[in-house]
């Protein structure tokens, strides 16, 4: 029997605080397209980065055509015939297309002088093969998102790899461009290349793959062979696994539809290229969830509600008063606080202690009669919230960088609770938080709702929204495409994911990805 092109045995990888891969086995045959699917953080990109030599596995073996190899850096991966398009942009903005394509693979005359003419020809050849005409002398920063993605692919294709990894390449492309790219990928496969395809759009995955490898929680949990009978539903079911049947924390009580006080109303809110025509109303004592893929514009919508960015057009009312914030300070003064999705960079001062982090937004209310800081009041309040939120810390004087993710997240929430804001926006409430802390945070949010606060919660984990929200808005390409209410038939994970994924299939704009 022929050796597989690529064989991974029992690969483990741990990052500080996260076990990214827990014993993955994987094989790729010549002339096959294998897709990796799974929710965010399931381990797909970690695995591809290991194959590409970005970082080594902690344990496990890698074989290429039967030969046991150590891929200690990207150059070695390249020599072994691995080409990769990374999920994140890897182009240098101030360099030209040809310089980027040939970065660290330059062609030279007599080993010294760059052979620019030849490199241009080769670049044009690769781009032409991909079916795109891009001026190779143009600087990458002047390209469109689509062109940049094509240059990334050209860069990976340059050395005619035997194994090609495509991590989320279709996100900025429209339907025609995707079809076109798929034709090329299939040609490459037919010529014997082994291709690893990573993506979120399940329809595409089913269309292109010879086999689908499903990842969940750092392990590959199953393989599906696409056929006419394979539905997106089945893939999603395997992606989620037993989680579907798992007991969810539900404390959510739908508020009486009668006496509901409007606290936030949006009418036609738009921001170019980010979100469009957002209409909805948030009531007192309500938790509204936002479901959507990364890059769907939810984070930016939240940011504009707090004043971190400013929306272009539309109207926003807080308790009936029309507002447009230019600075987060405006949002906070109007009673809106945001728990951002990156607590380490945006939510906490890591080098300060617990009490200062909790008090940082409320210092004006913690003053004594001389108008200076009332440290006793500050300590009392911090202590109160540490206790109320059961934040595990040796003392309120502990530096927050020494606390676990879950406790850090609680501190960010406590910051807004102390300030006593009416509306709290929570972007990814439990990112990088363990299961126990997750449940505590859910209870905390539900408790605040019962105290009459209003919350908007965004999360890539639909079941988290299902467990705490009164209703869920589904966002795709910056628009609200659907709304589901608790206690209705559609209020379940499968239906919501299906709505998201089927909208992606029709999404013909480059709107889905803005991290580039």
């Amino acid at each position: 029997m022929q050796e597989p092109l690529l064989l991974l045995k029992n690969i483990h990888k741990q990052f500080p605080g996260v076990k990214a891969l827990k014993g993955v086995n994987f094989s790729l045959e010549k002339g096959k397209i294998v897709s990796l699917v799974g929710t965010n953080g399931a381990g797909k990109s970690t695995l591809s980065n290991i194959i590409a030599g970005i970082y080594p596995p902690d344990a496990g073996e890698i074989f290429i055509e039967g030969r046991n190899v150590t891929i200690s850096d990207p150059k070695i991966a390249e020599q072994l015939g691995v080409g990769i398009v990374h999920q994140e942009p890897t182009l240098v903005p101030n360099m030209t297309v040809v310089e980027n394509i040939f970065l660290n693979k330059e062609i030279t005359k007599n080993r010294i002088v760059l052979d620019l003419k030849k490199m241009k020809q080769e670049s044009e050849k690769v781009l032409e093969f991909l079916g795109f005409q891009i001026d190779v002398d143009k600087k990458v920063e002047a390209l469109t998102l689509v062109e940049k993605e094509i240059v990334e692919i050209a860069k990976a294709m340059l050395l005619k790899p035997r194994i090609l990894i495509l991590d989320e390449v279709t996100a900025p492309l429209n339907k025609d461009e995707v079809d076109h790219l798929f034709k090329i990928i299939k040609d490459l496969r037919n010529n014997g290349m082994g291709i690893i395809f990573i993506g979120h759009k399940l329809q595409e995955i089913i269309e292109i793959s010879d086999s689908i490898m499903v990842f969940r929680d750092g392990k590959n949990v199953g393989e599906l062979i696409p056929s006419e009978n394979l539905s997106e539903k089945e893939v999603i079911a395997l992606m989620l696994g037993s989680i579907l049947n798992e007991d969810l924390v539900t404390g959510a009580k739908v508020p009486d539809s009668g006496q509901r006080q409007e606290v936030l109303k949006l009418a036609g809110l738009s921001k170019q290229k980010l979100f469009e025509d957002i209409n909805f109303t948030l009531h007192k004592g309500e938790i509204v969830g936002f479901a959507g893929l990364k890059g769907s514009g939810i984070t930016e919508l939240f940011q504009s509600l707090q004043g971190i960015i400013t929306f272009d057009s539309g109207e926003m009312y807080v308790k009936g008063k029309r507002v447009k914030f230019k600075h987060p300070k405006d949002g906070i003064e109007a009673g809106i606080g945001m728990v951002t999705n990156d607590r380490q960079r945006e939510g906490l001062a890591l080098t300060l202690d617990v009490k200062d982090n909790i008090a940082v937004s409320s210092l004006n209310y913690l003053r004594n009669k001389f108008r200076t800081l009332n440290t006793k009041l500050l300590k009392d309040n911090a202590g109160k919230y540490v206790q109320a939120l059961s934040i595990k810390t040796p003392s309120i004087n502990q530096f927050v960088q020494n606390l676990s993710g879950g406790n850090q997240q609680k501190i960010v929430i406590a910051k807004w609770l102390l300030r006593n804001l009416d509306i709290i926006l929570v972007d990814e409430p439990t990112r990088g938080v363990d299961v126990k802390a997750k449940n505590e945070i859910y209870k905390l949010l539900i408790n605040e709702k019962n105290n009459g606060k209003s919350l908007l919660v965004a999360s890539p984990e639909t079941r988290e929204l299902l467990s705490i929200c009164d209703r869920i808005l589904i966002i795709s390409g910056g628009k609200i495409i659907s709304e589901v209410y608790r206690n209705t038939k559609e209020f379940n994970e499968e239906d919501i994911l299906n709505t998201i994924h089927s909208s992606q299939r029709h999404c013909t704009t480059a709107r889905a990805v803005f991290q580039g």
Partner: protein, 339 residues
């Protein structure tokens, strides 16, 4: 697609674009015209040579500084290096040569022999200490601002200790005079040396792999690492070259003044950053051209010269330099936004 927007009103935009792309050259020419109008001695032989020598010294520092800034770092030690490298080289040469019975220092502070070995040692010491800066920065992961600030103090202190705080005179050193004041076709040889170094750096960056390494290291370090580039190595190289160019600048400076002072070059690190910024090199890394820094060094030196010739007192000069730095940086940022 993007070319459509620039072709609208083509007839109007072309001159504006021409001015934008050649801003530095235009400023240089305007300065020359201003100099001729404002002062009768501006084009005099002595004055021209003094401008050229100053340009060579500041220009060398700026070229080295620019390389460091292109890899998104900064080098505050180049001024102190201008004193330390010759002082250390002379001290080392004294040790080495006295072993073979040659005393190179007469009186207490007259250097009389060993020019060749001193020159070699200056280049060696400056390059090695520059690389040491780089190694500490990439290995200990301490910001370059801090490491080179520390190095500035260490080098100044060592310069005082090695020289005892006294100047070393080169007036009796064979060959030193011709090293400092040789002229070829009316142009100081040291200026030609600077141009040669500058052109070499430009050519290497443009026509060899080195340019891509440097620009990608500063422009998107992650992309460079993902392409298998050893960005740490290129940072160390950039600091090495920055140190080396400070060493060459020190040679030009000292051979011209015929002495080595413990305070020579102090404050020049900031001037070198100023020139790089005026020349279009940005602190964000990976952006700007060495040719810009070379022209900017001439712009600054001519400006200072004209201001002295018209008799402006020193403090006005520093105000004007400050305004030029801020103006130039704003202009570069603006032209990048609109391009």
């Amino acid at each position: 697609m993007a070319s459509e927007s620039s072709s609208i009103n083509g007839g109007f935009i072309v001159p504006a674009k021409f001015i934008k792309n050649n801003m530095l050259i235009i400023i240089l020419l305007l300065e020359l015209i201003m100099g001729v109008i404002l002062s009768p001695v501006f084009l005099g032989n002595t004055n021209v040579q003094s401008i050229l020598i100053n340009t060579a010294i500041f220009g060398l520092l700026a070229v080295g500084q620019s390389l460091v800034m292109l890899v998104k770092e900064i080098d505050l030690s180049v001024g102190a290096m201008m004193a330390f490298s010759p002082i250390a080289a002379i001290a080392l040469a004294k040790k080495i040569l006295s072993a073979s019975g040659t005393e190179i220092i007469m009186g207490s502070n007259y250097v009389v022999d060993g020019l060749f070995i001193i020159v070699v040692l200056v280049l060696l010491v400056s390059a090695l200490i520059g690389m040491l800066n780089g190694i500490i920065i990439v290995k200990a992961k301490v910001p370059s601002l801090i490491v080179t600030l520390g190095m500035l103090y260490v080098l100044s202190g060592m310069s005082y200790i090695l020289s005892g705080g006294y100047s070393l005179y080169l007036t009796n050193l064979k060959g030193a005079k011709s090293l400092g004041s040789s002229i070829f076709a009316g142009i100081p040889v040291n200026f030609i040396l600077f141009l040669a170094v500058g052109v070499l750096v430009i050519l290497v960056l443009k026509y060899t792999k080195v340019g891509n390494r440097i620009y990608s290291t500063g422009g998107n370090e992650k992309a460079a690492i993902y392409s298998g580039i050893n960005t740490d190595f290129w940072k160390v190289m950039a600091f090495g070259i920055s140190g080396l160019s400070a060493g060459i600048a020190a040679l030009i400076y000292s051979s011209r003044l015929q002495s080595v002072e413990t305070i020579q070059g102090s404050g020049y690190e900031l001037i070198s950053i100023a020139i790089a910024v005026i020349g279009g090199i940005t602190l964000e890394g990976g952006r700007g051209k060495i040719s810009g820094a070379i022209i900017a060094s001439a712009i600054l030196c001519i400006m200072l010269n004209i201001l002295s010739l018209v008799g402006l007192i020193a403090w006005y000069k520093t105000i004007i330099i400050g305004l030029i730095i801020i103006g130039a940086a704003s202009q570069h940022a603006f032209s990048r936004k609109t391009s």
